[in-house]
Subunit: 385 residues, 2 copies
């Protein structure tokens, strides 16, 4: 096992009718900015529940945070917080709203140009406003981690930052709030949390028995709830399990003490930035090709994945590995998520541009062994056409 | 899944040579009391490493905390902290030293008689000194939770308390510090963490897929490392996995959102209080009988345990359940831990006294359904003779 530090102070408030509890967890005299996305949180009543829970408090609102939240939009929120001297943020939404809120929290009192926070990946974040979240879309794990990914529209750049200053102080996870989600978003969330787990698991053996068992538990559970969690809209137990899985897939726990990959994510971000394809869908396109191209480096863990997650015990090693990758593709397809770039009408002529963007962003040595060069990324994209 | 709150702000600093980092995590001008147990931490050099890491700081020392730490001893430490105006505690040891330190942390500024903290099980703890830990014995999980169990010698009472004020601010887990442990203590730690997991898992189904998978992952890993982790003293990877398993077995994670039992622990505590038998050894005596006596209430989870932890798929339900319980006994025995009271020369005449003590402590309706009456506890003890 590798040496590690694990620290995660976010309080999770999980279950039915838990939004009512948020006032207990926000300082009494806080001047709050509630941030949200589109109209769905209004229509499904979540915003109303939050307003009711905060009745009598000082609350301003900032709506319109996009999926793939933009620097340009968020800087408007930063201006409001500064002007109105607000001191507590409350994100109501999915990963995009929460990621955006983390950026606002760090940017408000940032000493230099806030875009620095992204270009330095968060190392220069020395303070942030406290904030809580009310999660409506299980997917990114942002509700219990210190990561954020922001897009700059002007330059079509999508960059991430991390800082221990931007753990939410609390996150409310009420599975009933997912009942009205578009099925496409639920499917994306399942794929996203699956790939988050894979990025921390499918590398090389590191004598980390529990991290492996926990990751396999998340993967097997996702396979088990599979398409049902999407179609059975009001099945509380399925949605509750999915919501907790998505949080645990990226709260630092399964990644503590083990090598991590993230090459699939980095390539996926470039596809989203240039072609505006949902984050999770880019992962479903990149991952299977990544696993095939990097089969030798990942052989031992691919065999373990085949055996423990997919119960594949027969055939040669290569047959079991190919069956596991093929099952992974089938899993995404069962969620009605394509696994080829051609499904998005992206052809070979797109690859040069994507590789150029990876180069611009310094993504020239990705993966758990930093051996995913631009050439390897090119082969992965070619295999994903 | 049941509604739950999960909150655990302890920073884990895990791996080789990590004691050197503790100074970074203690406030610069802290007046520190280092608490420890017997002479082993001195002999194996752990205390020396801590002293070296804190060179130049204000540090006083308090040794001699017993296994099953006593109120009487700990109140001496409380007096020193008060007299010397110390403001940070550092526990160096296993669960007993850490549990004791939690009590000291809560007692120093407690508004009334500190024994109240135990008799009210911590509900009246409104503040505590901050403290960190350097763990030398993986077993109780105390390094990453808010529980503590204290014994009053005078009255032979063993009572627990819990409070969100007594999470360690950090815990250093260096697996090499376990190399010099007596094998008996390592065996006890394996059994203890196994039963901690069982208490939160082997109840009734609650649609908590991940909690089940995580608990099964811990149990399977313990079975896998089994006696090897005890006998292969300097096998870093085995000891590292065991150390992290023991922490995760009782840090609140696998118990969030599921029913919990703890009847085995409550009965075990009475056996320790009266007969001074190691905590873990009392659990190994009580658990198998508890599972047999409560087979019907636990049927569904016993079958799941048989299938997923022990790979038992053949035979009738009752055969699989008995095989799983029998394997559990075999597992304890493989650690050279007996599973019968007779091994400690405790006979039928002891039972009335143990039941009377359970009654005195209000332990009249134990277990996940509060249906472990004194009569059921009696039958469990009789079956464990």
């Amino acid at each position: 096992m590798q040496n590690f530090q694990y620290y995660n102070p976010t309080r999770i408030i999980f279950g039915k009718n838990t939004i009512a509890k948020i006032a207990e967890h926000i300082p009494e005299h806080a001047r709050i900015l509630m941030l949200y996305g589109g109209s769905s949180a209004e229509k499904n009543g979540t915003l109303g529940e939050v307003r009711f829970a905060l009745a009598g408090r000082t609350v301003q609102e900032f709506g319109g945070i996009e999926s793939n939240p933009t620097y340009e939009t968020l800087m408007q929120a930063v201006e409001i917080v500064r002007r109105e001297k607000l001191d507590f943020l409350l994100a109501v939404g999915g990963g995009s709203v929460i990621d955006g809120t983390k950026f606002v929290a760090a940017a408000v009192n940032h000493i230099s140009d806030p875009w620095d926070i992204l270009t330095t990946h968060g190392v220069n974040v020395t303070q942030a406003l406290p904030f809580g979240t009310v999660l409506t879309l299980p997917a990114t794990g942002s509700e219990m981690n210190s990561f954020s990914v922001i897009t700059r529209s002007e330059t079509r750049e999508k960059l991430g930052f991390a800082s221990p200053r931007v753990y939410p102080s609390f996150s409310v996870l009420d599975p009933t709030k997912t009942f009205t989600l578009p099925l496409r978003q639920v499917a994306n969330g399942v794929a996203d949390s699956f790939v988050h787990t894979i990025e921390q698991y499918l590398t090389y053996p590191a004598d980390a028995m529990v991290q492996d068992r926990f990751a396999e538990g998340l993967l097997k559970s996702l396979v088990e709830i599979g398409p049902k969690v999407i179609t059975e809209r009001e099945n509380y137990d399925l949605r509750a399990n999915f919501m907790w899985i998505a949080t645990l897939a990226l709260n630092g726990l399964i990644g503590a003490g083990v090598p991590q990959d993230w090459a699939t994510h980095m390539i996926g971000h470039e596809i989203t930035a240039r072609y505006d394809i949902d984050h999770a869908r880019t992962l479903a396109v990149v991952l299977p090709s990544m696993l095939r191209i990097r089969k030798e480096a990942k052989r031992a863990k691919l065999l373990q994945y085949a055996a423990r997650v997919w119960n594949l015990h027969d055939g040669t090693e290569d047959e079991r590995i190919e069956a596991a990758i093929s099952n992974t593709e089938g899993f995404f397809q069962s969620l009605e998520i394509p696994t080829r770039l051609s499904a998005y009408e992206i052809g070979p002529d797109a690859i040069d541009g994507l590789i150029a963007q990876l180069n611009v962003h310094g993504m020239t040595a990705l993966g758990e062994k930093q051996d995913v060069s631009l050439d390897v990324s090119r082969r992965v994209l070619e295999a994903a056409l």
